[in-house]
Symmetry: C2
Subunit: 695 residues, 2 copies
Amino acid sequence: MEKYLVLATFVGSIIALLFVVITAKKVLRFSEGTPLMQKISQSIRQGANAYLKRQYSVVGVFFACMVVVLCVMAACGLLTWFVPFAFLTGGFFSGLSGFIGMKIATASNCRTANACQEGLNRGLRVAFSAGSVMGFTVVGLGLLDISVWFFLLRFVFKLEASAITSAMLTFGMGASSMALFARVGGGIFTKAADVGADLVGKVEAGIPEDDPRNPAVIADNVGDNVGDVAGMGADLYESYVGSIISASALGVAAFSDQAFKAMAIPMVMAAIGIICSIIGTFFVRTDEQADQRTLLKALSRGTNLSAILIAIIACPLVILLLGKEHLGLYFAILAGLIAGVLIGKATEYYTSDTFKPTQDLSSKSQTGAATIIIGGLGLGMLSTAVPIIIVAICILVAYLCSGGAASTGMGLYGIALAAVGMLSTLGITLATDAYGPVADNAGGIAEMAGLAPEVRQRTDALDSLGNTTAATGKGFAIGSAALTALALMASYIEKVKEVGADVTFQDFSLMNPVVLVGLFIGACLPFVFAALTMNSVGRAAQSVVLEVRRQFREITGLMDSKADPDYARCVDLCTKASLHEMILPTIIAVVCPIVVGLILGYMGVVGMLAGATVTGFLMAIYMANAGGAWDNAKKYIEAGHFGGKGSDCHKAGVVGDTVGDPFKDTSGPAINILIKLLSMVSIVFAGLVVNFHLL
Amino acid sequence: MEKYLVLATFVGSIIALLFVVITAKKVLRFSEGTPLMQKISQSIRQGANAYLKRQYSVVGVFFACMVVVLCVMAACGLLTWFVPFAFLTGGFFSGLSGFIGMKIATASNCRTANACQEGLNRGLRVAFSAGSVMGFTVVGLGLLDISVWFFLLRFVFKLEASAITSAMLTFGMGASSMALFARVGGGIFTKAADVGADLVGKVEAGIPEDDPRNPAVIADNVGDNVGDVAGMGADLYESYVGSIISASALGVAAFSDQAFKAMAIPMVMAAIGIICSIIGTFFVRTDEQADQRTLLKALSRGTNLSAILIAIIACPLVILLLGKEHLGLYFAILAGLIAGVLIGKATEYYTSDTFKPTQDLSSKSQTGAATIIIGGLGLGMLSTAVPIIIVAICILVAYLCSGGAASTGMGLYGIALAAVGMLSTLGITLATDAYGPVADNAGGIAEMAGLAPEVRQRTDALDSLGNTTAATGKGFAIGSAALTALALMASYIEKVKEVGADVTFQDFSLMNPVVLVGLFIGACLPFVFAALTMNSVGRAAQSVVLEVRRQFREITGLMDSKADPDYARCVDLCTKASLHEMILPTIIAVVCPIVVGLILGYMGVVGMLAGATVTGFLMAIYMANAGGAWDNAKKYIEAGHFGGKGSDCHKAGVVGDTVGDPFKDTSGPAINILIKLLSMVSIVFAGLVVNFHLL
């Protein structure tokens, strides 16, 4: 039985990767358009490749240091020798997911622009196919990594179930570290370029967005790829793998008699999710006269169908593997699946300009920048309430349905399965999310290559929809991050028991001051992290502003299109700044759990993880939704409301959008990874902390 | 012995109130200045009185409803019959503190302006004396309420120690409810008027601040009194009383053998604090050529002296009452006292323009409003780290020094005593804080009455210093609120045990999903609360903007000073809007703990309290410091940096300041009260929740 389960997981991953190859080939068959379009696309590609190359070399140094530390710990008997290798593969595959996604995205931008010359539906097909490559690369590589390690540890090294999950949690740490670098570095790059290009180009020089005279325009387009594609790919690889392995680990803890089956359920669920998602992708198409609503329907049809298929198949799977008496676990999965959809809807409500909150927000531009900022901050804070309630209900349902009343272990396994359920449609939801930056780039290329206005209109329609799907995707990523973080917290406690601590319930009581102090410190981390990343964007953007101003001043004939700006210099500047700025936040995320553990012990660590998860969830939603709402409020004004483009209201809207940029694309998404990385690091260093701590 | 302790507390309160009467008489002997100044002052006074009168009538309805509910619960045996009465007296005294403070503030504004004609030192003396009246009214009434109830319950009704503290916690709930109404209502009033006056007057019409032609100028000055004076008075009354009674309650739980002595320590400490604070006030004076640094030194001399005196006297007190073996409790008190001072310093560092963070922030105005907003938000978030670490260390020191390692009860009593220690200098710190709005009003009157420019310069010097002391006072209030909230959480658990629940350690474990769900919901409350109050300010300000625009348009001759604006109408508008807007947030604060309790039971409530305390602390610091820094960054620009007044940088600074207004003066301070009110309500309704809950 065990072998078949591993095989099923492996087959799932291979199907995903085959689908990737076929889809990628299909995309690459489309024409790249005129030589000018090819040239622009190539500049973007070169910039993105150069950034990633240098990013990987910086990250490489970090990974080398960590591997040395892990080897030393293994030599001291605090870890097994699998840990350093698992850590490396997690980082490698996470980075690879981002890399492949970015490769296809930078190859598809000009193809999408070209396809949009022929029609909206054709454009959607190219962009969505590129997004699918990204989505299924992430899930395919994730499951491949998991199934290969499972096979090796079980059938080659013949380890026990708990030792297997313990080693596998380490590649979660590798994936999270890589993801944090990619998200933070890419997020700083993209927003520094975006803010810098807008502040000087749009506001000071008064030239339109994506104007080829703007020296930061290529950097801006590179940013979309390294931040919104490569960063997101690494990020979601980490979420996906994290949710599966934490569920497996808790399954082993809960089912001592059927450990391997409980461990396999999340993996097989993921494999089924892949197949259902692939089926869903075939239902994404639209007609030529589509407006935004029809486009959104086309995408929703695909994701909804996948979700329904998964909901149907998961039920017999649970019964088959664990027997009818554990049917409750199915409802836990279902709760996660439904919660994910509902959080997406809530995000859409708060950030789409077809609903009241964003429309109201844009009306606040009438009394200036200050009121639209206050309004957006208020909207973001208020929008945390519904997702919190959804997650709260999901936690309770998952816990109680899976038998938590009788056994805490079962209940926690249920919560972890809810996270797996939520992420089971990741292949297709990520496809709908990742196609956005491709469409955005296509719009840039259309503008720079001087294509007909209706082409830009079509790419804009695709791009605008991308903003909504990106916001939905973010809500989804945050919800699953919270559930996964809780599961990892539980895994941490299992790990602490495993390394020999004499754990009692009192240890984790809120009346234990060590737990409380941990809670305070953990709760503070997302605030500090958000502040550091926002300040980084500010500093990096400021250097872009100065460079763009310099080029406008010094390159004669630039404004009359008689001379070309020095695009490469802006790309280089963003690269250097973002690589420099990404180090401190990541180091903090890795060092904090170790320092807190060495001072406060494992009880303090649990408090810290709980605090970070709770405020991280809130801050991530607050920042993502405020940013999304400002962005769409500006678009709503641009669509002709309250005076339209160029009016005072529009200027106020641009201020809101600029504040929202680092909110939604740098700090907010990085917090998701932060809360999981904290847990992963804690798990890996549990042996050290249990043996050595001050209090 | 017991009687002497009650007597000492009573005497402390009487000394404070005598000092109030003497100081008030001294202030009232100063001249009110010219008839025009008197007339302006009278308009402000009338507006403030009218607001408070209507506020009290709205609050009266709420109190009447709550008393009915409490009486019904008492009739059902879920509460004792003391509870409704204690609830009423808490609310009454809290409101009275604000009322008296406001009376003296509105009587001193013109006197301060007039005294500033004679010199800076004289102006400081009047303003500071008015602040002292407020400060010592709060502590005097607080201790009076406590000592009278203690006397009645102990010597007339002859209750046991635990029954006494249980009844006394209820007047905490009354005080907190009143405080929340006062802070939220007053906070909305003051910021709606301020933002409204600035947006139309300064930005659109281009007339200076406090120009008599601005129809909202009187409303703005009324706002300073009802928000920053009456609101703050009610708020700090609640903090002061809450910290003392929660410490008493935990003392009773920890020392079953010496219950009354342990209960009395916080009260006697408070009485000693009053006397030391009075001594401190005599050392606040400055010379005529004082700059801001000298002025700050003058105030610091007074507060530091008081703190040192208290630190010296507390040691023999603890030994005398509980014996040498409990000397550790003294160190808990000391930890709180020192933590309070350090948090104040940290706040000063982040918000004063003599330090780097605010200077850097003002430099961000060079690239526009968006970058100064991003910078301020980042600064606010980052500034949470140091206070969190200070509070964390304070909690651990207080817990461990007071014997927490041996007994949890002793440790929690220590944490509560740290809060009492922190607030023991409240009389004088509140005086330095409350004098700010008096000086602010004096500046307004000087401007409107056309006094000589050097008078305005002097009031500005006093006012600017007031911004720093206000920020320090806020840091201090937040720190003590966090400690008090933890103490109240512990009191809640004692209460739950008392009403018959079979409490185990597992009940409050972070691995209990009910606790986790409570944690999520509680953590969300400060976000929702901040959003609601910010949106309220936005809506109320918008209505002021429309009214001011209307008056500018319709009253002919207004801009040429040939006709008077209709001040009363703006005051009336603010009054109506703020009373209307204050209801929902307060209702949420009262209803949430009951609903969460009825669904999740007492474990969920404990989770909720912990979540709300932790994120409330973070949000309150984030909002107070971001707001303070924006305010001072604008002032720094106005002082001539980056182009000075009227430059583009200044305009960006004004946007920052406007966003900061509701942050620092409405939402931020109200969160302090929120986290304590949640605990108080939970304690009062513990009997109901333990007997009836869903899960």
